[in-house]
């Protein structure tokens, strides 16, 4: 019985033996996937599939976990190339507590606003005691950010309200070039090329840090909003992570697996 979250999903990926043909991803013991783990795994599958690796997957033995992945058309969604995705498959209907479930983030005008609209509508219709406008602003900011930065590969977004745990969870991810490669491509951050991934990730949270001429406040201000709502935020890139805890403490560290791109989770507690 394994409940997958950011605490262990990297270990599951690190355990995949790529010397075998095909490489196998063993999810047979998994009984629960949280939002972050499903995005992380999806990007793991998408990255390796798009780089020509055939992955054999042992699906969860637990019926609920297996059905959860099937409902999200997980394999169909991530085990394909970007070109093969049809528009009809990109947007899903909503349920009472989730956007049912994964939305692919296209690089197009107003994608941030459109997804934020869906989130706001869902939160307003539900009984979730969070400020739907503030959550929608965070979603808009992050989705726009991923749409701009995830070169080549599609980014994905998912949101879930957990009434029993009294929290709303957002997760986003891509399997693009990641923060270190992105930032170190400009001269002023070239020193990051040889730095640990967590160092580059922490740098990305500093105000004004961007590979472009202007901007670089998106992540800083999202972190600020999340902190003010007493929420937490986790960003992983390569084998590094930055975790902004609910108590305001910021921790950096290392993941067990070096996954391309950026994966992110925001947890917003309901008001008492």
């Amino acid at each position: 019985m394994v409940s997958l979250s950011w605490l262990n999903v990297d270990q599951v990926c690190a355990a995949v033996d790529f010397t075998g043909t095909p490489a196998s991803l063993d999810l047979s013991d998994v009984t629960f996937f949280d939002q972050f783990s499903v995005i992380y795994l999806g990007m793991f599958v998408r990255y390796h599939t798009s780089h020509g690796t055939t992955l054999e997957v042992y699906p969860p033995n637990a019926t609920k976990a297996r059905e959860y992945l099937a409902r999200q058309r997980f394999w169909e969604r991530f085990n394909f190339t970007e070109e093969s995705i049809t528009r009809e498959k990109q947007f899903r209907t909503t349920t009472g507590t989730s956007l049912n479930n994964i939305i692919d983030i296209e690089r197009r005008e107003r994608v941030g606003e459109d997804i934020a609209d869906q989130v706001q509508r869902l939160l307003q219709e539900s009984q979730a005691r969070v400020r739907s406008d503030e959550v929608a602003e965070i979603v808009a900011e992050l989705v726009e950010n991923f749409a701009q930065h995830s070169k080549g590969e599609l980014a994905a977004f998912t949101m879930q309200w957990y009434p029993n745990m009294k929290r709303v969870v957002l997760a986003l991810g891509d399997c693009g070039i990641g923060i270190r490669t992105s930032l170190s491509s400009v001269t002023r951050y070239a020193r990051l090329r040889d730095a640990p991934h967590w160092d580059a990730a922490a740098k990305a949270f500093e105000a004004g840090v961007t590979r472009k001429r202007e901007g670089g406040t998106g992540l800083t201000l999202v972190q600020d909003s999340v902190r003010l709502m007493r929420g937490s935020m986790l960003l992983t890139t390569g084998d590094g992570y930055v975790q902004t805890r609910a108590n305001g403490k910021v921790v950096v560290g290392q993941m067990a697996y070096d996954l391309s791109g950026v994966q992110l989770e925001v947890v917003i507690p309901e008001r008492r």
């Binding site: 979250s5 950011w6 605490l7 107003r110 941030g112 606003e113 934020a116 609209d117 706001q120 400020r131 406008d133 503030e134 929608a136 602003e137 808009a140 900011e141 726009e144 967590w198 922490a202 949270f205 105000a207 004004g208 202007e214 901007g215 406040t217 998106g218 800083t220 201000l221 999202v222 972190q223 600020d224 909003s225 003010l228 937490s232 935020m233 986790l234 992570y241 930055v242 975790q243 902004t244 805890r245 609910a246 305001g248 403490k249 910021v250 921790v251 950096v252 560290g253 290392q254 947890v267």
Partner: protein, 122 residues
Amino acid sequence: MSRRIEVTELAGATVSRPRGAEAYAKLHQLLAQGPLDVALDGARILSASFLDELVLKLQRARELESVTFLVTDESTTRKLERIASIRAAIIYVQAAETMPRHIVERRDVHLSPTFSSKKVPA
């Protein structure tokens, strides 16, 4: 006396940096006729990047002095406080038409990450 405009009249959407630039372009033209009050509360989703880009462009053009942001929403005010701090900008706000405008306080946040060799739940 300043004229008033809703921020939603300045751009098709109040999300993202390009929309902030779009809003600035329209605002710049209007500022040629004198100072303006920009009402922020009417926007359904007002992203920080949008506001940051708008403020940055106004600051570069030395037009911030001619703009007063009308805002009562606490969350929007906090964003302006942070942007004022990050951009070292003087941003004028007004909570009600009967009150005088004032410079928004700068809110500094310094978060120093610490390294941990062990992952723990947040």
